[in-house]
Assembly symmetry: C2
Homo-oligomer: 250 residues x 2
DNA sequence: ACACCTGGTGTACGACGTAAACAGCGCATG
DNA sequence: CATGCGCTGTTTACGTCGTACACCAGGTGT
């Protein structure tokens, strides 16, 4: 039941494609299905990613996909790990460069495939490519004499930041595709909304608006990444580092 | 068409409930619908949040909801802003305390309603409560003599971090509900997965695992928040601050 | 020769969001 | 009081989704 389902997912992701043991007599392959699904998601967003749509782009019937992929959920797992597989391995070097490389890898991955952030929101199964990249990120800070919990915490802090900034970026991309209207035009067209942005209700926002703070924003990724790495540097260079363990699971 | 739809959403969110102008003759109200929807999402997750399910908990038919809410998308907008309305206003004080308060508000909001992070992933319409909290966050750093772009960048950096850590937390909560199995038990039950975690494939991960780094993790939120604020302090205390503007829209 | 597996097809079902037509009620107007 | 209108809730129905299931064609092992 559940157990076997999950183990099947593990096998699907981690074990090499054994289907061609006999003969490559199949016109359709798992790789082709995953590839087509990624292309659909890239072009039309994850909401348009239906089994029918994927099959259509391949020129097969919907149900033919199920001969190569157990279900949509597992197809999503495979897509996510395939995209992680596109990223490069981090080179050896000082910790800050290594973490920065890791962050930029994630960032460019999210930019190329914004739907990733919607899929990893689900209970996804970790795949080999994702784990390999994570391992490389841990390796970047392995020479600093940190406790292993600290290594994990440092890397996840960076990952969380990139996730967060990627999420807003992905939202922007999606809105633009869905409405067919650019972010800027959209906001400019919301006169009904601006009426409510009065200085007494939202003093700081109107001030920032009037002084052009929203029109010429800083690069959110570059700015934030520099700050996060600065903050980690403060931690790493400190003599004694306080430990705050997680007390709750949630 | 689109324009009028969007403006209707604005009115829905920003203008006071005018429906009781005549008489409160309706058994169902918008507030009750939104409230029931939030309860369903809290208890069963946003995937279980269907119009049929909300109507059922209220003891009405599905279509009755549409007398009070234009559609599901707008209901989600209303839910998001209602939850923002539950948070407290930031008190005045030094910048670091103010930002920390803002971050902790978001964090506890996400912990109480993990589905928020799945909903804000969509092209949501900003509501008054969300904007008020954001305004207060800007106010926290308003006395530092920063340029207004910098004010925005500082606050969004914190928000992005909390979003990122909230997202992983929300995933954990969701997995546990869906599978009925705790995070720890789930991982422990994945022998099929552990087989692939060999030192030659994932040297750092196996090392961290063996030294207990995953078993006794640090508090991701506390750790990361402290680092992010440290990094912002470095920026704020610096004499000259480089400007990196956003060059692309995406 | 045969049964068997493997890969692709066609049909069908239940759940979803919601459009549209309808029914009962309270009120303002004759 | 009667009448008709507008608001609230109901019923039915449609199109789309994931996918279970039965079917079929052709290559393979015995």
């Amino acid at each position: 039941m559940k157990q076997s389902d999950r183990d099947r997912s593990v096998r699907l992701l981690w074990e090499p494609d054994a289907q061609t043991a006999r003969e490559p007599k199949a016109a359709l392959t798992r790789a082709r299905v995953v590839d087509a699904a990624i292309k659909v998601a890239d072009a039309e967003g994850v909401d348009a990613l239906t089994m029918r749509r994927v099959a259509e782009t391949l020129g097969f019937t919907t149900m033919s996909l199920y001969r190569h992929v157990p279900g949509k959920s597992e197809l999503l797992d495979l897509m996510v790990d395939a995209v992680w597989g596109e990223t490069e391995h981090a080179p050896a070097g000082p910790w800050r460069e290594g973490l920065e490389f890791f962050a930029r890898q994630m960032w460019s991955m999210y930019r190329a495939h914004p739907w990733m952030l919607q899929l990893t929101t689900s209970r996804r199964m970790p795949g080999p490519h994702a784990m390999t990249r994570q391992d490389a990120a841990y390796a970047a800070v392995s020479e600093l004499g940190l406790r292993s919990e600290e290594i994990v915490a440092v890397v996840t802090t960076v990952a969380h930041f990139v996730d967060g900034v990627g999420r807003t970026m992905a939202d922007r991309v999606r809105s633009e595709r869905e409405t067919g209207v650019s972010e800027e035009d959209w906001w400019n067209g919301r006169e009904a909304l601006w009426e409510h942005f009065t200085p007494d209700r939202l003093p700081m926002m109107t001030h920032i608006w009037n002084s052009g703070g929203f029109e010429r924003p800083l690069d959110e990724f570059e700015f934030g990444l520099a700050r996060v790495l600065d903050g980690l540097a403060v931690f790493i260079d400190a003599e004694d580092r306080p430990l705050v363990r997680r007390e709750t699971c949630l």
